[in-house]
């Protein structure tokens, strides 16, 4: 049996587009016309669209694996000599393939809503799926009309042009799918927000339904950002982990609003307040995700000026963004005033802390957006080219991040509704003591007051979260208390405490990294240099051959006081197909500091040859990404909480309705969403 190829894939993509259109139109029509059959069609259409897209994506992977160079995308990005893993992952390493992956993930999200949301009210579910379908239609049209991954090239070349060697890395291979899942995952809260606006109702139940989706997307986005940062640390060989360039900022901006969304959804769920704000955050987060992926990643910001590679593509994407973002914001402006709002609250309470968290996160987001958008804006307005970099972002984000961290520890120790200053201060005492010790330690080891402050606040956050856990477990109040409480502590509590600890760990890593030392040296074989209290000796240079490159390896011996502690092998790889050289960094970590060595060029011949080396000692560097993983784990743990399972309370009259009945508006009762009302 012949495997399906590019034509089948192209057909499946077109089919998926039509199905998505049907998914976007029919359920909305059904909801307006109260046709139950059309509402019930939504999940089926969603699964069908997902199946078609899966087939389409599989066809592209098959074309790439079978080296079908008559497909332009494969010819431009693959080569016979490329290892199999990168033939597969290379499918999404380029513009066309990554758009197809984007559409596929969106369809998977829709499928997940259809599958896990079986307890959702029929109308709400149909509307959510319809909005996801409408967004899918737009982007699948974009894929089909302007960036067709299945376009043919004639005559077919004998070999492809190969992939950028920098991208041939296992870390980067899986970074885009994870990051895209994060970006696209926020489409679900967005769809819920738009559906709620259409319905004209936001309540605690809505908050409970949205939260797991927001947390899932947030986990993936956190992991994706951490992976990307780790990749640039160990692949680019510059010893940096974050360069504040527009592509990186494009992922940070939705992360900031997404973090705010995850927190404000808690307030909607628990206190039935902040509802309009949460809807706006859900819209904003997905809008930032969209603009991030498409404006920056597809090079449209560049192509607007000198490199208009395809003006149709840019126009299409701008129209699409205007439609999705502008449309949802218009709907928001029109419908939001009619949403009845919930309670107000005391400043000194859990919800007060969460509001402060939201304000500060949004201020941070505004600062990052300004720094990212100002240079291209000024270029359009004045024609002067300028850029803002690390100094700008350091000067603006750190002063806003410090109060955010200060609020983090206090917020988790506050009770809902009304807190009091005195018990709060008493609870914060251990954290304050530890943070003070951290400040002293920071001042002793770091240069400058800001790193010391950052370290102190990071410890403050971690200690605050641990205090919270200890108080809830009744630590120090006898073994019986612990035994009684440990099994009953909700996983969501563990999850949020762990996520906060992760944030503290990341900040500690960033602080440590700000104290990194580096030096560039040129050494002959047998020579050594003293750097960071260590002796680095270049013992040998060797040549090796890889699958599609030639490598130059250095043997670098690191010793402290004459005792050898590591042998490192930094290397350079020469990819013959692309005439490109990449640096393969050697990293030796003991989790408290990284030894980091990169090999540069070599000059001279034979015994006189000298080799350029870049040597770094990076304290606490691995904590940056470790913290990201801990944060994502915390999010995953809170997802596994029984109370936050996807979907809704199974029985409309059960516990869920009991909680909502307390809401003052009186409209938010679970039974109001009964599908039976629609069918009649």
């Amino acid at each position: 049996m012949a495997l399906p190829g590019a034509e089948e894939g192209h057909y499946a993509l077109a089919l998926a587009c039509v199905l998505a259109l049907a998914q976007g139109v029919l359920p909305l029509w059904g909801a307006a016309r109260r046709r139950r059959t059309l509402l019930e069609l939504a999940p089926a259409l969603c699964f069908a669209q997902l199946a078609a897209l899966l087939l389409s994506f599989a066809c592209l992977v098959i074309s790439a694996v079978r080296d079908d160079f008559s497909v332009e995308n494969v010819a431009a990005n693959s080569a016979l000599s490329k290892p199999l893993l990168y033939k597969i992952t290379g499918v999404w390493g380029n513009h066309e393939g990554s758009i197809l992956l984007w559409c596929l993930i969106l369809a998977i999200c829709g499928g997940a809503v259809a599958w896990f949301g079986r307890g959702l009210p029929l109308v709400l579910k149909a509307r959510v799926l319809a909005i996801l379908g409408a967004v899918s239609t737009g982007f699948q049209l974009f894929c089909l009309l302007t960036s067709d991954p299945f376009a043919r090239v004639w005559p077919a070349p004998a070999d492809g042009q190969g992939m950028n060697p920098l991208l041939q890395d296992p870390g980067l291979a899986f970074h885009p799918p994870v990051l895209y899942t994060g970006y696209v995952g926020f489409a679900v809260p967005f769809a819920f927000a738009v559906a709620a606006l259409i319905e004209g109702r936001v309540d605690a139940a809505w908050g409970r339904w949205v939260r797991p989706w927001a947390v899932t997307a947030w986990c993936f986005l956190t992991l994706g950002i951490a992976m990307g940062s780790w990749w640039s640390y160990y692949v680019l060989g510059w010893g940096g982990y974050w360069f504040w360039d527009p592509v990186e900022n494009a992922s940070l901006i939705p992360w900031l609003t997404g973090t705010a969304l995850v927190h404000s959804a808690i307030v909607v769920e628990k206190r039935d307040a902040l509802r309009i704000w949460t809807v706006l955050l859900a819209i904003a987060t997905f809008s930032f995700s969209l603009s991030g992926t498409f404006l920056v990643r597809s090079g449209i910001l560049n192509s607007v000026h000198a490199f208009a590679n395809d003006p149709a593509r840019g126009l299409f994407i701008l129209l699409l963004l205007a439609l999705v973002i502008g449309g949802s914001l218009l709907l928001f402006a029109w419908r939001a005033p009619s949403l009845v709002s919930g309670g107000i609250f005391a400043p000194l309470s859990r919800e007060g802390g969460l509001v402060l968290n939201n304000i500060l996160l949004c201020a941070l987001c505004a600062v990052v957006v300004t720094g990212t958008m100002y240079p291209p804006f000024m270029q359009i307005l004045t024609g002067r080219t300028l850029s803002v970099g690390k100094p700008f972002f350091d000067a603006t984000t750190i002063p806003l991040a410090l109060p955010l961290m200060a609020a983090m520890a206090a917020g988790v120790l506050l009770p809902w509704k009304r807190g009091q200053m005195r018990p709060l201060l008493r609870r914060l005492r251990p954290a304050a003591a530890l943070a003070f010790l951290g400040l002293i330690g920071g001042l002793a080891t770091c240069t400058g007051i800001i790193p010391a402050l950052c370290a102190a606040f990071a410890i403050w956050v971690i200690a605050g979260s641990v205090t919270d856990l200890a108080l809830r477990l009744g630590l120090g109040r006898g073994h019986g208390m612990l035994k009684q409480r440990l099994p009953h502590l909700p996983r969501a509590v563990w999850g949020s405490a762990i996520a906060h600890i992760g944030a503290g760990v990341t900040v500690l890593g960033l602080t440590g990294m700000s104290q990194a030392q580096h030096r560039i040296v040129e050494l002959g074989i047998g020579q050594s240099v003293h750097q960071g209290a260590l002796d680095w000796t270049l013992t040998a240079i060797r040549q090796e051959k890889g699958p599609n490159y030639r490598a130059t390896l250095a043997d670098l011996t690191v010793s402290r006081n004459g005792r050898e502690i590591a042998i490192m092998h930094p290397s350079r790889r020469d990819f013959t197909a692309q005439h490109q050289v990449t640096t393969d960094v050697a990293i030796r970590t003991n989790l408290l500091r990284d030894l980091y060595a990169a090999l540069g060029e070599s000059h001279g011949e034979g015994k006189a040859a000298r080799h350029v080396l870049r040597l770094h000692v990076n304290p606490l560097a691995p904590w940056i990404w470790l913290g990201g993983v801990i944060m994502a784990l915390g999010g995953a743990l809170s997802l596994s909480d029984r109370r936050h399972r996807f979907g809704a309370p199974r029985k409309p009259g059960g516990q869920g309705a009991g909680r909502i009945a307390r809401s003052p508006s009186g409209t938010a009762d679970g039974t109001g969403r009964d599908p039976e009302g629609v069918a009649s």
């Binding site: 709002s341 949004c362 600062v367 970099g389 806003l400 040296v521 040129e522």
Partner: protein, 209 residues
């Protein structure tokens, strides 16, 4: 939930507050003291928002005035030298055959010329040049410039592939009138050098007359 009200932390639209404050079953039973706390609570929210966002604005403006980096082409930097110690981005094509390497105190030093087709500036950079650095290709250098001295680069960027040119370099080349992206690919490295030399010859010739 006995104190219903509007729910946005940043409510800058007083028109929307009317229905929100009146909503709720206990709207009529509120005492004067209760209303005071409600007012003060809203005041607290507004103030926090105001403080946070004005702090953010102040930070941004302050950072803009000190840390914006302007891009300049070699001809611009020679015509109007920037303030010494002000960090700028210098971009253009690396003149073929201009790269010289030396070692000072175990540290490699690279010296090369950057041109935009009108003028060339010598750049001095101690460190590892990026993998994609090539003579005859585009480059962006970050650093400071004092007239009469080479451009002291702290960072050299050439992270794009062979067919791609940083936008700012392309703009500078376009402005210098040497190349327009609408008319195809940039000229080859060799022709850049000859352009620079011809230009220099013309300039010297003109001054000699």
């Amino acid at each position: 939930m006995s104190t219903p009200s509007h729910d946005r932390p940043a409510d800058r639209n007083p028109a929307r507050e009317g229905p929100a404050t009146n909503a709720g079953p206990d709207g009529g039973r509120r005492t004067a003291t209760r209303r005071m706390t409600r007012k003060s609570r809203r005041l607290w929210l507004t103030l926090t928002c105001l403080i946070c966002f004005s702090a953010a604005t102040a930070l941004v403006l302050n950072a803009f005035s000190s840390s914006i980096v302007f891009f300049m082409a070699p001809s611009q930097i020679l015509a109007r030298p920037p303030v010494p110690d002000r960090v700028i981005r210098l971009g253009g094509m690396v003149v073929a055959g201009s790269l010289r390497r030396t070692v000072e105190d175990n540290v490699p030093v690279n010296v090369f010329d950057v041109t935009d087709g009108q003028a060339a500036v010598t750049v001095r950079f101690s460190g590892i040049l990026p993998d994609l650095f090539r003579e005859g290709q585009s480059v962006v250098a970050l650093g400071t410039f004092r007239p009469g001295h080479p451009f002291a680069a702290t960072e050299v960027l050439a992270k794009h592939d062979e067919t791609y040119m940083p936008r700012e370099v392309a703009e500078a080349l376009k402005r210098s009138g040497k190349w327009d992206p609408r008319f195809g690919k940039p000229p080859s490295a060799g022709s850049w050098d000859s352009m620079t030399r011809n230009e220099a010859r013309e300039m010297t010739g003109r001054s000699a007359q």
